[in-house]
Amino acid sequence: MTVFVRLRQPSRVIEVRGGRTARAVLMDLELVAEAHLVICNGALVPADTYLAETDEIEIRPVISGG
């Protein structure tokens, strides 16, 4: 099962294995939890949320350099 995940900077969509938590996906992508938020179907969710195939996921970086 795969889920599509939108990443930013630059904005793009990648495919990852689903059926696991957002935290596991973050770790897989080597993304630090403290520097990201997970948005599932337009709503903010905690990192222990399970990602299903039909979900629209965005992993949004929150760190800015300005």
Binding site: E34, A35, P46, D48, S64
Partner: protein
């Protein structure tokens, strides 16, 4: 699924530094409390003060403006068009929409219209780093607009991550003068207005979450000049520490304010500022025009420089993927 620490309803966010999860309502409440605590603890302003919020279209400044209005403060916005290509255009659109939807007053200064320069051109022609030219320009215009319209205080969206990263850099260099000046409140002196940072007790991640939960549309993509810069490197390092010891950023920065700053506060004397002979703004150099006027004088006559020309290889790749490769950007 994780539950809110306060009410047991499904959580929307995990906050490692509080070792807890929160629902939307209780997360927003926690943010409001941290905001209030900073405002009161550092005596930033009260309900009678007129506040000018420097807004960029990013999450922090829009969240700050929203929070201040939400808490009943009298806050207007100031947006500066820095001329950083498509990024500036997009951030201006977002900022104007935010103000319009809420019926708020937004002042705008377009750098090119008002002073004949933009950040990429001024940086390129003066040999300054883009963020240095930009920072000096913003500080100058914030002060000028706040004083022109008689605001009591200028508020910026600097959050805990920003302040911890700056502290980290100042400490790495043991820059005592910068350390002494690093405070959440700068009282007015020598013609400079009072400046405050009400978000110093809140993290970047919390401010992004605030925007999402409050339905605030902010510009998510980074300013192209920031890609891979040193400030970002410090933040990444601090977040790596935060991952293994949650709460480190807060104890590093808030501990500095509480225990270290009082020790060094008296250590360095400052020279009083005098008015710039050209624009009248206060400056440290007696008899000379201020740094902003110098920047304008030395670069406003020159051909505009596109953003891409200022980027290194890595930043250019990110920039091209985000905004396209056209050379006039």
């Amino acid at each position: 699924m994780s539950k809110c620490r306060s009410c047991g309803e499904p959580a929307v966010i995990d906050l490692a530094r509080h070792n807890a999860n929160f629902c939307a309502e209780h997360f927003l409440q926690l943010c409001r409390r941290q905001l209030r605590k900073a405002i009161d603890e550092f005596e930033m302003f009260d309900e009678n003060d007129r506040i000018l919020v420097a807004v960029s279209g990013g999450k922090d400044s829009l969240a700050l403006w929203d929070m201040l209005i939400d808490e009943g403060f009298r806050a207007d916005g100031l947006y500066i068009g820095l001329g950083i290509g498509d990024y500036s255009d997009a951030s201006g659109v977002v900022t104007r929409a935010f103000a319009e939807q809420r019926g708020l007053t937004l002042h705008e200064v377009d750098l090119r219209e008002a002073h004949g320069i933009d950040v990429p051109t001024a940086a390129y022609r003066s040999g300054r780093a883009p963020c240095s030219a930009c920072g000096l320009t913003k500080r100058h215009l914030f002060d000028a607009v706040a004083s022109e319209y008689g605001y009591d205080v200028l508020a910026t969206g600097h959050n805990l991550d920003d302040e911890a990263a700056v502290l980290f850099g100042n400490t790495l260099r043991w820059d005592v003068e910068y350390l002494r000046r690093q405070a959440p409140v700068l009282p007015s002196r020598d013609g400079f207005g009072k400046k405050v940072k009400p978000l110093v007790r809140l993290t970047e991640r919390e401010m992004a979450a605030w925007c999402i939960l409050r339905g605030i549309d902010y510009i998510v993509e980074e300013c192209p000049m920031a890609i891979g810069n040193r400030h970002l490197g410090y933040k990444t390092a601090l977040n790596a520490i935060e991952e293994t010891s949650p709460g480190s950023k807060a104890s590093f920065y808030l501990g500095f304010l509480e225990r270290m700053r009082p020790v060094i506060e008296q250590a360095v004397a400052h020279d009083p500022a005098v008015p710039c002979p050209s624009c009248g703004s206060p400056t440290g150099r007696s008899g000379e025009i201020c740094a902003f006027c110098r920047l304008v004088a030395s670069t406003s006559e020159s051909e505009p420089v596109p953003v891409r020309m200022l980027l290194g290889k890595q930043a250019r790749n990110v920039f091209d993927a985000q905004w396209g490769t056209s050379n006039d950007r």
